[in-house]
Symmetry: C3
C-alpha cells in the first residue's frame, strides 16, 4: 500500500512538472490567413484521420482487451489512462524538441496517437496482472523509450541510420513490433507459476465486445496507415490496407478452423487484423495484389502464432502474454518490416535490417527493465480482478 | 463433411486464381504531382466516406445481426468473411474491366463496399441457417450477380437502359432491394418446416448490440448515400438523409406501439433505418420536406412489414427471413426507386421502371439458383448454433 | 391512457403542421458551379464533423445512459426519438428565420445537432422516470427554449448582448450547462419520495455499454468543439480538446480512487468527459497547457460532484438526477464559461457573465415549467422499467 502511495505521488509530481514545464513553452499555433488555403484543408483531413486513430485506440484496443471477463472495467479504464498519459507526454517532449524537430499540431497529434497505440499493444501482454497505478508507471516509462526508438529509426538519431533510410509508413516495426516486444520484456518479470494454472476466462458477452473492438480497428486501419501520407497517395494506401485485411481475415478463418478443428473467436478477433500490421511498412508502395498476399501470410502467421507458437514461447520465458500481442503485432510486424526491405523501390536493405535489429534490442531491453520496475511495485501470485480496485 | 472440404478447396482455388490473375494486372496508381490539387483533396474526402461506409458494414450490419442470441459469434464472423470476399472480388473484376470501365481506387473502393452492403443485406435472410463455408460460397456467387445488375442498370450493359436513364444515387434498388430480394430467393430453398417451430431467441444484451449496430448504420447513412456525390451536393444530401431517418424513426415508434400495443425493440432497430433505404434514389434531388415525408412513409411501411406482411409472406414461400430484410430493405427500397420516377427532375419514368423490373427479376432468379447451390452443401432441419463451428 | 393518447395526437398534429408548414418553404440548395471550389471542400469537411457529432449523440449519449440496467431499451429508443424530433424541428424553425438568420445546410445541421446534444443531456436527469410519449413532449418543449437562449446569447436576440460579446465556441454554457440546468428544473417536478429508496441498478454488461458510450463521446469531442471553427484553427482546437480530456481522465482516476477508496466506473465513464465540457468556451483560444489544466480541474470538479455534491443537492431539491448531468455538464460547463471571461483575448467579461446568468435563469425556469407539463401527463411513484412499454 505504501508503494502505491509513492507511485501516486510520483505521478502527481510528474504531472505538476509537466504543467510547470510547459509554462515557458509557447505552443505552436496556426498563423492567421485571410483565405482558406489548400494546406489548411489538407491539415483538417489529417485531423480527421487522427480522430479515426483515436477511435482505434479507445474503442478498438480498449474493447479488444475486454475479452477477459473479470477484468473488463480495468481494461477500459487502463485504456483511458494510458492514452491520457502518452498523448500529452509525447506532445510535451516533442514540443520541447528533445528528440528531433517539434512537429505541427496535427502531425504531433498523429505521432502521439501512434505512441499511445504502441503503448496499448504493449499493455496487452501483462493485461490482468497490473494495478491502475502500475499502468500509469508503465505509460511514463514506455513513452520516452518509444520516442528514442522512433528518433533513431526515423530522425537519424545518434547517426545510426540515414534520414529516409528506414521505411515504415504504417508502423509495422516502429509501432507494432516495438510495442509487442516491449510487452514481451515486461512479462518476463510479471508472471508467476501459479498464474499458468489460472486460465483466462471469457464469456459470450465479453467475446462480442472484443469483436466490436476488433472491427473498429479493422475498419479504421487505413486511416492509421495513411495518417501522415500525402493526399495523392491516400486512396491507393487505403485500398492496399483493406486488401491486406481482407486477405488476413480469409486466411484466419481457414487456418483457425483447419488447425483447431473449430474456429476460435479469439483468433478471428485478433488475427484478422494481422494484415494491417503486416502491410504497414509497405502500405503506400506495394501493389494491391502484393498487399493481398502479405495479408494472407500475416493472417496465417498470426493464427499459427496463437495456436502453436504462443504455448511454446510462454513456457520458455515463463510468462503469460494475455492478449497474445506477439502473435498479432510481433511476428506479423517483423514480417512486414522485413518485406519492406525487398519490396520498397529504391530502399537500401541494410538500413532497413539495421533499423529492425535496433528496434528489437531496444524494445526487449527497455521492456525488461520496465518490467523489473513494475514488479517492484507489486508482483502478484494470482491475477487481479476488477473488484480489487473498483467499487 | 466431404462436401464442406470440397467447398474449402473450391474457395482456396478461387483465391489462388484471383492472386495469379491479378499478377498480370497493373493496378491503377495515382500519378505523381508536385502540389496538392483540389481533385486529390476531393478524393481524400471520398476515401473518408468509404471509411464511414466500412463502419456501417462491420459494426452496423455485423452487430444488427447479433440479436440472434445463439448465433452471435457466427454473425460477426460471417460479416468479416463476407466483406473480405466481396470487396477484393469486386475490385478484381472491376479492375479487369469485365463489366464496365475500371474505376479509380477510391471510386472502386466505394462501389465494392456497396456490393458488400448488398451482400450483407442478402445474408440477413438465411442468417442462422448457414455454415461459414456456405457464407463464403454465397459471397462468391452473389458478387458477380450484383455486378451484372449494376452494369445493366448504370452502365447501359446489354443496351437495355440508356446511360443515366436509371437514377439511384443512394442505392434504394441497386443495393437494398436487390440484396433483399436475392435473399428472398435464397431462403425459398433453405428453410424446413421444423424451423418454423423454433423461434429466434434474443436477450437484453443481444438486443443492445443490435441497437448499437442500428445506430451506427443510422448515423453514417449520409456518407453511404453521398459516397460518390460531388462535393457541392454533399451537405444538401446529408440533410435529406437525416430528415428521412428522423421521419422513419418517429413513424416507427407510432406504428409499432399502435399496431402491437407495446414497442418491439426489433422494429425500432430496423424500421428506423428504412428512411435511409427509401430516400436513397432521391437523396440528392428531393427537397428536405419531401425527404422527411419519404422517411415517414418508409418507416411506417417497414414496421407494417415486420408486424403484418412478414408472417403472411413466410407462410407463402415456406421460408424464414431471419432479419426481416424484405421489411427493411425490400419494400422501402422498391418504394424509393418508384418515388424517384416521379420526383427526380428530367427523369424518364419508363427507364426507371424498366430498371426496377430488371433488378427484381434478376435478384429473385439468381437468388433462387444460389439457394439451390447452397442447399446442396447442407440443408438442415434445425437452426445452426455457434457451438457447431466455434470453440 | 387517455392522456397519452392526447399526447400522441398532439405530436402527430405537430408533425403534420410542420410538414404543411415546410411546403411553402423552399429549402436552400447549393448553387451549381462548374468546378469544385475550396469553399465546397470546406463545407464537406464540416459535414464530416457533423457525422462525428451524430456519432456522439447516438452511440455516445445513447449508450452512456444504458448503465441503468432495467431501462436499457428505453434509453436507446428515447435517444433515437429525441434526436429525430430535435434535428428536424431546429432545421424547420431556423429555416423559417424565426430566431436569427437561416443558416446554410451544413451549418444548420451542426447547430441542430448541438440542440439535440443539449436535449439528450437534459433527458439524462429524469432518465428512468419518463414514458416514451413524455420524451416526445420534452423534445417539443425543450428545442424552442434552447433556440431562444442561443438566439439571445449569440445572435443578439432582444438586444441583451452585443454580437460576438458572448464567447462559447464549444458550448460550455449554451449546450452543456443549459441542458443540465434545464434537466434540474424538470426533475424538481418528477421525483417522488419512494424513488429515493429505489437505487439505480447496473451490472457489468450495462457498465461496459456505458463505457463504450463514454469513449465514443471522448474521441469525437474535438469534432464537437471544432464543428463550426474555421479550417486553420481546427488542428489547434483538436489538440486543446484532447489535452483537456486527458487532464480530466487522469484527475478523475486520482480523485475517484482517493475520495471513494476504490474507483467507481461511473465516475470514469462520466467525469473523464468533463474536460471537453470545461474547455468548450475556450477551446480555440486557450494554450494547450491551459487546456490541460482546465481539463484537470473540470475532471476533479465533476468527480467531486458525483461523490459529494449530488447527494446534498438531491436532498435539497427532492429530485433524482439519474445520470448526474449536473456533475458532468452543469458545474464543469459553468466553470468553462466563467474561465472564458478571463482567458479569451479581447473579451468583455461583463457580457460573458450576463450571458451566463441569462442562460442559468432561462434554463431553470423553462425546465421547471416543462417539468410541470410532463408531470401532468404522468408522475409515477416507482421508476419505469422497459417492460411497461416494450415487448
Amino acid at each position: 500500500m505504501r508503494k502505491s502511495t509513492c507511485l501516486l505521488i510520483l505521478a502527481l509530481l510528474f504531472m505538476a512538472g509537466m504543467i510547470v514545464g510547459t509554462t515557458s513553452y509557447v505552443w505552436a499555433t496556426e498563423e492567421k490567413a485571410a483565405h482558406v488555403t489548400i494546406d489548411q484543408v489538407v491539415s483538417v483531413q489529417k485531423y480527421n484521420r487522427s480522430i479515426h486513430v483515436m477511435a482505434m485506440l479507445m474503442v478498438g484496443f480498449g474493447f479488444l482487451m475486454v475479452f477477459v471477463k473479470k477484468y473488463g472495467r480495468s481494461a477500459v479504464t487502463a485504456t483511458y489512462l494510458l492514452v491520457s498519459i502518452a498523448v500529452p507526454m509525447y506532445l510535451y517532449i516533442n514540443g520541447k524538441g528533445y528528440l528531433g524537430e517539434p512537429k505541427s499540431d496535427v502531425d504531433g497529434l498523429l505521432l502521439a496517437e501512434f505512441a499511445a497505440a504502441s503503448l496499448l499493444i504493449c499493455a496487452g501482454a501483462p493485461l490482468g496482472r497490473l494495478k491502475m497505478s502500475q499502468y500509469l508507471l508503465l505509460a511514463l516509462l514506455f513513452t520516452p523509450c518509444y520516442m528514442i526508438n522512433e528518433w533513431i529509426l526515423l530522425e537519424s538519431g545518434l547517426g545510426l541510420i540515414p534520414h529516409g533510410g528506414f521505411v515504415d509508413t504504417g508502423g509495422s516495426i516502429l509501432i507494432h513490433a516495438f510495442g509487442a516486444l516491449f510487452g514481451l520484456g515486461v512479462i518476463m518479470n510479471m508472471t508467476t507459476k501459479e498464474e499458468f494454472a489460472v486460465p483466462v476466462e471469457s464469456d459470450h458477452t465479453s467475446d462480442q465486445f472484443s469483436m466490436l473492438g476488433s472491427m473498429v480497428l479493422w475498419l479504421f486501419w487505413p486511416s492509421f496507415c495513411a495518417g501522415l501520407v500525402e493526399p495523392k497517395a491516400v486512396p491507393f494506401t487505403a485500398v492496399n490496407v483493406f486488401m491486406a485485411l481482407c486477405g488476413a481475415t480469409i486466411a484466419t478463418y481457414f487456418v483457425s478452423s483447419t488447425l483447431r478443428g473449430k474456429i476460435a473467436i479469439g483468433d478471428v478477433a485478433n488475427a484478422a487484423l494481422a494484415g494491417g500490421v503486416g502491410v504497414g511498412a509497405t502500405c503506400d508502395t506495394a501493389s494491391h495484389q502484393t498487399a493481398f498476399i502479405i495479408g494472407i501470410l500475416a493472417g496465417a502467421l498470426s493464427t499459427i502464432g496463437f495456436v502453436a507458437i504462443q504455448p511454446v514461447l510462454q513456457n520458455k520465458i515463463k510468462g503469460i502474454d494475455t492478449c497474445g500481442v506477439t502473435n498479432l503485432h510481433g511476428w506479423p510486424g517483423l514480417m512486414g518490416g522485413i518485406a519492406a526491405a525487398f519490396l520498397v523501390p529504391g530502399i537500401v536493405p541494410a538500413n532497413q535490417f539495421k533499423g529492425i535489429i535496433i528496434a528489437i534490442i531496444l524494445a526487449l531491453v527497455t521492456g525488461y527493465v520496465t518490467g523489473q520496475v513494475l514488479a517492484y511495485f507489486g508482483r502478484r501470485r494470482t491475477p487481479y480482478v476488477d473488484e480489487e480496485e473498483f467499487l
